[in-house]
Amino acid sequence: MSNNSCWEKLGPDQPQSQRTKMGKSEDKDRKNLGKKLKDVEISIPIVYGNIAFWLGKKASEYHSHKWTVYVRGSTNEELGQFIKRAVFQLHSSFNNPTRVVNSPPFELSESGWGEFEIAITIYFHSDICDKPLNLYHHLKLYPEDENSSMSTKKPVVVECYDEIVFPDPSEAFLARAQSHPAVNFPRLPAGLTLPPPIPVEDASKRRKGDTKDHSLCQWFMNFSEADELLQLAAARQQVQAHIAKLKRQINLIDGQHQQFKPSSDQ
């Protein structure tokens, strides 16, 4: 999935209406530059979930699995530019159940025997958003499929794709996000120019935060927007064909009614 792709793929109506609306608010926005930008949204595609390994022979009663719960960029870009901290709320039976991760990668490894819901609270840098966002993930240790036996080689992987949406982002945020690979960057209204992109911190620091060479990255799932769109397009085509057929049928029935309609009734 490429950045900036969403706007082109949208139906014709919505962007147009947004653009026309934008025309009105443009002047106002130019006056107070640095404030919020209306009708522009930035979204960060993320994947959150867990990978759990069965410990096999090393498994004890209370430590049968070693698991890692995480929030990563959907293309494994680092998220530290936007996310200040992630707080994982574990089951109360764990020592210090509230775990705070202050730097990327935002992940947490533990061992245990039970599945439970983990609340993940994401805090953003203050110039992006002062409100936190909650994610909920049900930790999965045992394979869904009854037939697949537990193995120490093949972990249980559960991941969810979602997008963090910031409506009306600040211009500072836009400036910071415009060249960042982890962000879906909106097409900006015509005439609006952003200050030149703030040079990103040195690559080595960024590399530290991304999950491209993550030890578990071979287990990461692929989320293909194209596949999803293809599937939806096929379904829509089918439904539309059906609609057309039904409309023809209605016309046919209407025609028959006309024939049966006796003149005496008129």
């Binding site: 966002l133 794709y161 999803e228 379904a235 089918q238 049966f260 309609k261």
Partner: protein, 431 residues
């Protein structure tokens, strides 16, 4: 439904009862002679019909009883003559039964009111009836126990059954009211409370004879008409709901404008449009105030708003259709484009379901119209005094006229049935 429902017993009273009786479960033992499965059906309740144990029937009578059957004469108080009849009697230990014939008590006769000359002059004069005729009628009523068909047959002058009934009941009524110390004393009497209605009785018999003279084929058609009427009524409710929701959906920005096949509805649509617009705007506004949210959350809100006007069943059907199409109910990769497409697909499915209902409805209407020639019997009333309320629903361009005819037939059939089942307020209906 189980035996408890049939017997109209409340279920609430049972848990407590059961709890109490659990320690002595043995008292609930099934009686002998009933198979376990049958007993289970009653839920442990006593059956409505007495169950006689088969072994009980085979049981030998006590040895000290000697039973014989004898051909004996008997007398009946029901007989005025002295006719001697015989019958077989069961005799125990040689003692014959005494007393009246056991069936004599069923010999009931009607008590016919007697009026005096004075009463007749005062209350009962009627230009259509002479005193002699009235006397004759009352004699025959007494003789034939109000069997009016027989009375009419024996009546010297030619009078219809209804005329005879009318005279008899109106005389009875007048006498009862005249003799009562106050009108309140006889108000509850059936003859007073529900006066005989000649025209209704005539109409009832006409309708009845018409139904009785129907061929089996006509009967079957009648049945079909009633079933269809029910189906049409049922179809209309959801079809209307879906049409409304579809209109609402069609007005969403970005939604494909669906062809409006319902011209009658267009008048109300602008209102729907604006309400949906504000709906969507409200969602966007509320999302904006969040400052940060998940794409899936936004999608959930949009899906909910799009289906808010549809019924629960329609929503279920949309989801079933999504499933049949192999599309995830919640997108696996909910990007903005995917969400937009997903919402579009849901809207199209709503449109599809609506069209399906329309086709179904039109087909039902069409088929009912095709055999609509039936019902134009000479007796069909030409002017319907009322228009059923479901007539006013959604103007069909073509169907309306057909529909009117259809409703006409249905109403006529109901009128017949009404007369059949609510015969009349005739008191002491014995004929």
């Amino acid at each position: 439904m189980d035996a408890k429902d049939i017997l109209g017993l409340s279920k609430n009273s049972f848990p407590a009862l059961e709890k109490k009786s659990r320690p002595h479960k043995e008292s609930h033992r099934k009686p002998d002679g009933i198979s376990r499965e049958v007993y289970a059906l009653t839920g442990g309740l006593p059956s409505l019909m007495p169950s006689i144990d088969a072994s009980h029937l085979k049981k030998k009578p006590p040895s000290n009883e000697k039973i014989t059957w004898q051909w004996l004469p008997f007398s009946s108080s029901a007989r005025k003559d002295n006719l001697q009849l015989y019958h077989w009697v069961r005799i125990i230990n040689g003692v014959p039964p005494t007393g009246d014939y056991s069936f004599a008590k069923y010999n009931k006769s009607v008590e016919i009111i007697k009026y005096t000359e004075e009463e007749y002059e005062k209350y009962l004069t009627d230009p259509m009836w002479t005193k002699e005729e009235t006397d004759q009628l009352f004699d025959l009523c007494e003789r034939f126990d109000l069997r009016f068909v027989v009375i009419a047959d024996r009546f010297p002058s030619s009078r219809t059954v209804e005329e005879l009934k009318d005279r008899y009941y109106s005389v009875c009524r007048a006498i009862l009211i005249a003799r009562a110390p106050s009108p309140g004393d006889v108000a509850a009497h059936p003859v007073v409370k529900e006066p005989y209605n000649v025209s209704q009785d005539i109409e009832r018999k006409r309708a009845l004879s018409m139904v009785l003279s129907q061929t089996r084929q006509q009967e079957r058609r009648d049945e079909e008409v009633l079933i269809e009427a029910k189906r049409i009524a049922e179809l209309r409710m959801p079809a209307k709901a879906v049409q409304e929701s579809q209109l609402a959906d069609a007005s969403n920005p970005g939604a494909e404008v669906t062809e409006r096949t319902i011209p009658g509805e267009t008048a109300s649509s602008p209102m729907v449009v604006s309400s949906t617009l504000t709906d969507n705007a409200a969602i966007l506004a509320s999302l904006r105030t969040l400052r940060v949210y998940l794409r899936t959350y936004a999608l959930d809100q949009m899906v909910q708003s799009a289906s808010s006007s549809a019924g629960l069943r329609t929503i279920k059907r949309v989801e079933q259709t999504l499933h049949d199409l192999g599309v995830n109910l919640k997108p696996r990769v909910p990007t903005k484009a995917v969400c937009t497409e997903h919402l579009e697909l849901r809207k199209e499915i709503l449109t599809l379901l609506n069209l399906q209902k329309q086709v179904q409805y039109k087909e039902a209407e069409g088929s009912s119209f095709r055999d609509g020639s039936y019902g134009e019997s000479p007796g069909t009333p030409k002017d319907q005094p009322f228009i059923p309320e479901f007539m006013s629903f959604g103007g069909e361009r073509v169907g309306k006229k057909d529909h009117k005819r259809k409703v006409h037939d249905i109403v006529y059939n109901y009128v017949i049935l009404y007369y059949l089942f609510h015969s009349e307020g005739e008191p002491c209906a014995q004929q």
